[in-house]
Amino acid sequence: EADIYQTPRYLVIGTGKKITLECSQTMGHDKMYWYQQDPGMELHLIHYSYGVNSTEKGDLSSESTVSRIRTEHFPLTLESARPSHTSQYLCASSRRGDYNEQFFGPGTRLTVL
């Protein structure tokens, strides 16, 4: 079992609220990722990080932001949630140079009313 954690697991909130999805890993991995996953669809990369103070946007346009102040922590923030943000958000991490094998967290299922 991979040591990567996400909280909350489920979240239902109203439109306009600011939310932060937490992701932490205890494996010392340099690389971390956030994916968005809808049923029957591909995982879409929305943010990634090579290491501390390094963040990049992924392929899928997202109104969220991320930060990487510590190696083990990679939170994702939505300043003003909308119903279109309803989705499952998966966090993952991998070692530098390990052919990019990724370890995934359990996901956060977000519903915006």
Binding site: E1, Y35, G40, E42, L45, F104
Partner: protein, 112 residues
């Protein structure tokens, strides 16, 4: 743009049947290939991977996959499925860079 195509979105098999899940990708250069699996209520986890060498790779729980470079394919196989193989299977390709592209997944249901 790079893409990964999984041919079947849903597969239903009886126990002991053979399994083959198709995966094709579009990228002409060197690739690293993965199959991930998500069992009900569990994290997405690595099933097997190919980086180089023998194109037939073996993973956990009796799964194997064959890389056919000329066909841009990385199909997943298992000779005899079990009820516990019920899960969603994702093919993924890491092509010449940092990002990994995932397919849409195949939901496998094995009838006991």
């Amino acid at each position: 743009a790079q893409s990964v195509s999984q041919h079947n979105h849903h597969v239903i098999l009886s126990e002991a049947a053979s399994l083959e899940l198709g995966c094709n990708y579009s990228y002409g250069g060197t690739v690293n290939l993965f199959w991930y699996v998500q069992y009900p209520g569990q994290h997405l986890q690595l099933l097997l991977k190919y980086f180089s060498g023998d194109p037939l790779v073996k993973g956990i729980k009796g799964f194997e996959a064959e890389f056919i470079k000329s066909k841009f394919s990385f199909n997943l196989r298992k000779p005899s499925v079990q009820w516990s193989d019920t899960a969603e299977y994702f093919c993924a390709v890491e092509a010449g860079g940092f990002k990994t592209i995932f397919g849409a997944g195949t939901r496998l249901f094995v009838k006991a």
